[in-house]
Symmetry: C2
Subunit: 492 residues, 2 copies
């Protein structure tokens, strides 16, 4: 007889009912070929005795197996493993969960970079790309609003499948907020709520670019944008970036020989160099896009953070011919965890983007969208921006002062007029690789500096965020960086 007693292990301490444990283990035995097609199962009374359980449990289990089609009950004869099961002998695996490593099929891998692993030691200071200080997030207000929104009777209708464009209430409030703060003049129909700027870029890339299409980006450019565009198999053409931003004359020259599908700009503060696109070039770029019929993807990722003057209105506010696709988000302004962004463009493009997003993730989170509608309407967002703007300006001033005074021999930079990061050029005597390696000995993690030079121009610069550190942390960071540079210099 088949060794039921030693092959089956039932655990009364777990939630799963015994009869299900039993039937699932019998299925395992069948599919592993230990109980083969046609085998007569042991009688229920006998199995109950063997396993020390109630007979009814075994009967329920056999019924379950029959319902699932694994066994057949023949009256007065007994229960038999179904005859039509193909044999699929497999070595019995251990019952513990194990990582399945390899797929049994082939799939396409991409040029997409894998996120780098973060170091785990608490005391390490990590340099970053210019992220906000999440400790300043008005989390309590947001969570309270979330719960208040959830407690409204009228909220139930938002729990079902909803619009792929995003919640209508938020669309209306965002449009009026963006029209008033960014000088736009668009309607709700021109706005799609996304999961942050990245989704806006992704959707735009999918709709604009295919193999052989050309998109123009800066020589230095936001690495995620580069990768998002490359992933469509489009061709990236790079043009120079100077103190006035991306060089539109080069784009004009390019237009003479090449059909351009789109230009990607971070006009407010160029990523990564932080320079602002000049008024002259803005107008020039708009003119070119109109003349040659290309799209401008304007990624306005840190519009809210300006220290020397009011924010400069985006290209989108000057676009009368439907050439600008404007993407932005609250992720930098409030906290990255709140994946709420927007794509603003002509209605024909927004409609197509909304269709596509419906097949990517169906829709956004209407509860969170309603929460942010309240958060904007109440003025909480404005208050938050005013508050962190002051804090970040102080941090910028301190960071730049210390970087100049303490590390002026090693690094050169311009004080950024806005944003949350400094574009820092390392003295050509050194390499960032040296800095990274030495810094690790002093609990300072430089991060992936290579992503600032995807075009490999050897500019020897990287972007260093200042906004996420308190004043004490800034002193400590500069200190560690100084120790690092001194150590390297000694070894030279």
């Amino acid at each position: 007889m088949f060794p039921y007693k030693t092959s089956i292990y039932l655990d009364k301490s777990v939630k799963e009912p015994l009869y299900l444990q039993l039937s699932n283990q019998l299925i395992l035995l069948i599919r592993e070929g230990q109980l083969t097609s046609g085998t007569k199962l042991i009688g229920s009374r006998q199995l109950a005795e063997l396993l020390g359980i109630h007979r009814k449990t075994v009967v329920a289990s056999y019924e379950e197996l029959a319902l699932q089609g694994w066994v057949e009950s023949i009256p007065k004869k007994g229960t038999f493993v179904h005859n039509n099961l193909p044999n699929l002998y497999q070595k019995r695996k251990e019952r513990e969960s194990v990582v399945k490593e390899k797929s049994g099929f082939s799939f396409y891998t991409s040029s997409i970079l894998k996120a780098k692993k973060a170091f785990k030691v608490e005391e390490i200071i990590y340099l970053n790309d210019g992220t906000s200080d999440t400790r300043l997030t008005p989390l309590d207000e947001i969570a309270r609003t979330y719960r208040r929104v959830a407690s409204k009777k009228s909220t139930y209708k938002h729990l079902d499948y909803g619009s792929t464009y995003g919640n209508n209430g938020l669309r209306e409030i965002l449009v009026s907020y963006l029209n008033s703060t960014r000088g736009l003049k668009v309607a709700k129909e021109n706005l799609l709520i996304t999961r942050g700027s990245q989704m806006g870029m992704w959707l735009s890339a999918q709709l604009l670019l295919k193999e052989k299409d050309v998109i123009v980006v800066g020589t230095t450019n936001y690495a995620s944008a580069d990768i998002t565009f490359k992933n469509t198999k489009a061709t990236l053409k790079r043009v120079g970036v100077d103190q006035c931003g991306i060089q539109t004359n080069e784009i004009e020259l390019l237009c003479k020989t090449t059909q351009i599908k789109a230009v990607y700009v971070t006009s407010h503060h160029h990523h990564p160099t932080t320079v602002t696109l000049s008024a002259e070039r803005r107008m020039h770029l708009l003119q070119l896009s109109k003349k040659h019929g290309f799209a401008i993807i304007e990624d306005d990722y840190d519009y809210d953070f300006n220290y020397n003057h009011a924010p400069i209105l985006p290209l989108a506010s000057h676009d009368t011919s439907g050439n600008v696709i404007y993407v932005g988000s609250v992720c930098k302004t409030v906290a990255p965890v709140f994946r709420i962004g927007y794509l603003i463009a002509s209605k024909d493009f927004v409609d197509e983007a909304a269709k596509l997003r419906g097949y990517i993730d169906r829709q956004g989170d209407a509860l969170l969208e309603l929460t942010f509608a309240e958060f904007i309407k109440s003025g909480d967002l404005d208050r938050h921006i005013r508050k962190v703007l002051r804090v970040y300006q102080q941090r910028r001033d301190l960071f730049c002062k210390l970087l100049k005074e303490e590390l002026g021999d090693y690094f050169s930079f311009e004080i950024p007029k806005g944003g949350m990061a400094i574009w820092t050029q390392l003295n050509k005597k050194y390499t960032w690789k040296q800095v990274q390696e030495e810094a690790r000995k002093h609990n300072l993690e430089v991060g992936d500096y290579t992503r600032y030079d995807m075009a490999k121009t050897n500019h020897n610069s990287m972007r260093i965020g200042f906004a996420s550190y308190t004043e004490n942390e800034i002193y400590e960071l500069i200190n560690r960086l100084k120790t690092t540079m001194k150590s390297i210099t000694k070894k030279l």
Copy 2:
């Protein structure tokens, strides 16, 4: 002199500071070519008088324009519109927001279907595809948990950019929950948290399919899946579906002539026909996938809803060779608004999917993910499932009873063993188009019946959800449907 007074309108009642209103309107006048390059602006004292505002406001405004590069201040000479601005004469548009209709560039449109517009009248009863009753959502518990999670000190670290795989805590809890409820034996590394099943399908399609690749689906199939796959330009091959589910013999035949990249199955309850894939075919399909190296995309969209017996373990629980990609979500179980799903596969595939999702929407919502980790851990999810299961079973029984008794002449169907919908065949004397048109007169909206027959086999069936209606609503729905059918019959 330029008519400043009549060209500029300042509104003291709005939030935007006066100096900004002024500078933004001057920018508008410049870019519209009304103030051309080289023009000397009127003196600040004079403009202040004209507009009835303080001179300091005008000065601040001119400084703003200079900082933004629109004008140049020449000491003792005055303020001049910058010389290098390209002329971009445009007709002045109205200041109100207007819908921008047309893009100034070309982009790719897709075969993706646009979501149908819903009717607006409250009293209409809408048939649906088998959605849950959002009125049963434990929204208050979830919102309370959300706020509790947000109030924890340790939560701050989750507000920053996080893992593209999803929150680690939820991954661990989901893996153990799915291992115990679905007989899986996978590790955290095999699970990617997605925004619902749709994102799992989208990611799988992107990684598996390119032009000319072949994916197999049922003759009748979930329309969103069809469209998601078609959008990759892959070729869909259809095989029959009968009472035992998708016909694996046809797949075996197909394998002899064609290299198959993937097979899409809704094994638990086939969408749309609700039949369960038999044990025999399950083993056969697994065997084929192993032999021919194709992927099985198993969409287990309504695992939790079984009325006649315990849920049948998914194909993924029998997969030892890494051929199954298992996608599911809590969207049907809790509410569609909570976009939390999972993709389970071998680590190599999950890693690639996580990279890709990083460029689609960067990451999930860690706060919501932490909330659901609590919701599962506390047993609230289980309690919720037990509760709605009882309710839905009663609704199924009533719906089927009435459909048979009252409308047996018009519709035939099998009582579904699980899920939230009935596969309903209309008597061939009638068409769904007739039913749709007549039903509208009786405040009953049938919806898009064509999506159940993407392959155009004229089966004359559609899927009708029962779970979202209370007993009273079911009576009313059947009533309206009966009136509809009688009206049509009279006219025949």
